[in-house]
């Protein structure tokens, strides 16, 4: 498992060289240095630049060879033409991993770019060096305080269990910033770029064994060898949740095909099946990728498709029910005992069968408490969607069910949409989430979609 060992060193280096380090903010080498120095990295940083004695107050080395100690990771930000020589330096220095930020290889129109990349791959292969990139912003290991990217602000993200692996720098930045804004803790952010020798299939086994990664989120565009990814994921099916969002779906089936099957087998359809087959949950949007990755870290999977929709107002319940039905969940009847309890708690005329409109119990939080409690214990229900919009009259509702939810501790998943004016319920909702008692989404549709995703993921890996 050479790759896995290399990756371990790459994500947890003791000494990091920045080749092409710079004091000039107009150079990426400046931003990489800033990321490493301000990110709290506790290992050794060695700026490499033939024209400087020190960079950002750190003594620099004119070349990698002239630095006396050993180097685990080299972050390379020099022009493309110089990279082959740097790779040879890394080989002589027995560097274990390279983050190759430099662009201008396989992604450019000029075929020389692809040729150069192949030549680099040969050196890396010979030297046994794992390479992230080229054409990447870099990678970040938040638990190691290692920011080997050109975006220092990634270090501001909370530490957590979500690892993002992406083929696109833009999507990585977007996802990481969304995660920061939503207070989602991250473990690693990895831009695979042109994937010289570390592709999704190569990094997956490492991340599945990585104790700091709880959930893996992938952003895919197109893969050279998708069956390798399938094999890597299948081999570890169900060990750790993997969620994927894939774009570049426009390729349709072969219209000239003589068979219906051939004409309908578009890129999207085949990828969808292939990812599921490998135990990877496929989602349809960037927002969904983050929602599902978070949910899979916090929530159990519903044992079956039978969902209770408990709603403070009818409309949000309807919106959630529509998504549930479309996504293969069932809004199924309660057991008679449960229904009996609910009937006793709600006034006549209220919609009391699933979905339950708890609106008439606004003034009586103990009724809401009683309904939720009864539904939790109902063996005909596999998961609960709890939706409540704040109103002055139900303002105490969240406080009154707080302990119940904490005590229940999601023995079945509880996905909520508890929405108030800013600051009213947010603190309590945040505390409930921290306690693992709920997973809260800002709209009923997203809440329902997450419940469906949990159910489908559970089936994929059963």
């Amino acid at each position: 498992m050479e790759t896995s060992n290399n990756l371990k060193a790459l994500f947890n280096p003791e000494a990091v060289a920045v080749i092409g380090a710079s004091e000039n903010p107009e150079k990426l080498g400046y931003h990489v240095m800033k990321s490493l120095t301000t990110g709290g990295f506790e290992g050794r940083i060695i700026p490499v630049n033939p024209g400087s004695k020190e960079i950002m107050g750190i003594p620099s080395s004119p070349s990698l060879g002239e630095f006396p100690g050993s180097i685990d990771l080299a972050v390379v930000v020099v022009p493309a033409g110089v990279v082959p020589r740097i790779f040879e330096d890394c080989e002589h220095k027995a560097v274990k991993g390279i983050v190759l930020i430099t662009a201008g290889f396989k992604e450019i129109d000029d075929p020389s770019g692809a040729q150069q990349q192949t030549a680099l791959a040969q050196i890396a292969q010979r030297a046994g060096i794992s390479v992230i990139g080229p054409n990447t912003f870099g990678m970040i290991n938040l638990h190691g305080n290692l920011n080997a990217s050109f975006t220092p602000e990634f270090s501001l993200a909370q530490k957590g269990g979500l690892t993002l692996v992406s083929q696109s720098g833009g999507i990585s930045h977007l996802l990481a910033f969304m995660a920061m804004r939503q207070g989602v803790g991250l473990s690693k952010i990895v831009g695979l770029g042109n994937r010289l020798n570390i592709d999704f299939a190569d990094i997956l086994p490492y991340l599945i064994e990585d104790p700091e990664t709880e959930v893996i989120a992938l952003y895919l565009e197109g893969l050279d060898e998708p069956k390798r990814l399938m094999a890597a994921a299948s081999a570890h099916r169900g060990k750790k949740p993997i969620v994927a969002f894939k774009t570049g779906n426009s390729e349709t089936g072969d219209k000239a095909s003589l068979s219906h099957t051939g004409s309908m087998a578009g890129n999207q359809e085949v990828y969808e099946g292939a990812l599921r087959q490998a135990g990877i949950l496929r989602v349809e949007s960037i927002q969904s990728l983050l929602d599902m990755a978070r949910a899979l870290a916090i929530c159990p999977r519903p044992e079956g498709p039978r969902i209770a929709v408990l709603t403070g107002q009818a409309g949000p319940g309807m919106a959630a029910c529509d998504i549930c039905e479309a996504e293969g969940l069932k809004i199924s009847p309660f057991k008679p005992e449960t229904q009996g309890i609910i009937n006793g708690l709600l006034p006549p005329l209220a919609i009391r069968t699933n979905p339950v409109d708890m609106g008439p119990a606004w003034y009586d939080s103990s009724s809401i408490h009683g309904i939720i409690e009864a539904v939790m214990e109902d063996s005909n229900i596999d998961g609960i969607l709890l939706l409540m919009m704040f109103a002055s009259a139900n303002g105490e509702a969240v406080a009154n069910i707080f302990d119940l939810l904490v005590e229940w501790n999601q023995k079945k998943p509880v996905i909520t949409c508890l929405v108030s004016p800013p600051g009213v319920w947010d603190g309590q909702v945040g505390d409930l989430e921290k306690a693992g008692a709920i997973f809260d989404l800002p709209t009923p549709e997203r809440a329902a979609k997450v419940m469906a995703g949990l159910y489908h993921y559970g089936k994929l890996v059963k």
């Binding site: 003589l258 068979s259 087998a265 085949v270 099946g273």
Partner: protein, 223 residues
């Protein structure tokens, strides 16, 4: 595989319906009971062998739009009807070197499709979905990469929007999911074992009560 070798030698792009089904039969995929007939004597023998009600269809490689061209006669209930259908069809297609197929009448409103295609990256892929005239209109299908396991096959059936037609509905029994799964697995295996087969359509695969039967099939060859 004799059928395949012969067709490839002749430089053909497809197998005829009958050849396609003969091939599927060797993989234990259930197909309609049918006999090919080139003249009236053979047709008569075939009609007696198959029994009524039956179907008479034109049969030749590269024969498309059979239904639109009036080359499929269903629910034939007596010899007179059968012989006149035979002559009418032969008149239409004799220049194409076609024969007719005398086929048992498989009845059931639930039409499915099972297919095989080759993806440039994934290799052979199996398709399952809603069949008949709805296949291309609704595109309610699901794919997996071969080889597939039983769990994959069962998931494919659950993924289509019309999954409820596999359940016991409107007095019809639930589909034999185990048998359907076997068919899907075998179609994937054909893709892995026979490089010379480019694509397969089994459409419709009709649920005859609970049992799936390939009523029409097309095997497309790799030249």
């Amino acid at each position: 595989m004799d059928i395949l070798e012969k067709a490839l030698k002749e430089g053909r792009k497809t197998l005829s319906e009958h050849e396609s089904k003969e091939l599927l039969r060797t993989y234990d995929i259930p197909v309609t009971r049918e006999i090919e007939a080139a003249d009236e004597t053979q047709a008569l023998a075939a009609i007696h062998e198959i029994g009524f009600p039956l179907v008479i269809k034109a049969c030749a490689p590269d024969l498309s739009h059979k239904t639109e061209r009036g080359l499929v006669r269903v629910d034939i209930r007596n010899e007179e009807e059968a012989i006149s259908a035979f002559h009418e069809i032969m008149k239409e297609v004799k220049d194409d070197g076609a024969t007719v197929l005398v086929q048992e009448m498989v009845k059931g409103p639930r039409e499915l499709v099972v297919g095989l295609t080759r993806d440039s990256q994934f290799g052979p892929c199996v398709m399952f979905g809603l069949g008949g005239i709805f296949t291309e209109i609704l595109r309610d299908v699901s794919f997996r990469v071969a080889p597939i396991e039983k769990r994959d096959a069962l998931e494919m059936m659950q993924e289509i929007k019309a999954r409820k037609i596999l359940e016991a509905i409107r007095g019809m029994p639930a589909a034999d999911l185990d048998r359907l799964a076997e068919i899907l697995i075998k179609v994937g295996n054909i893709g892995l074992e026979e490089e010379s087969i480019k694509e397969i359509d089994i459409n419709p695969l009709i649920l005859w009560d609970s049992q799936p039967v390939a009523v029409d099939a097309l095997v497309v060859l790799n030249p």
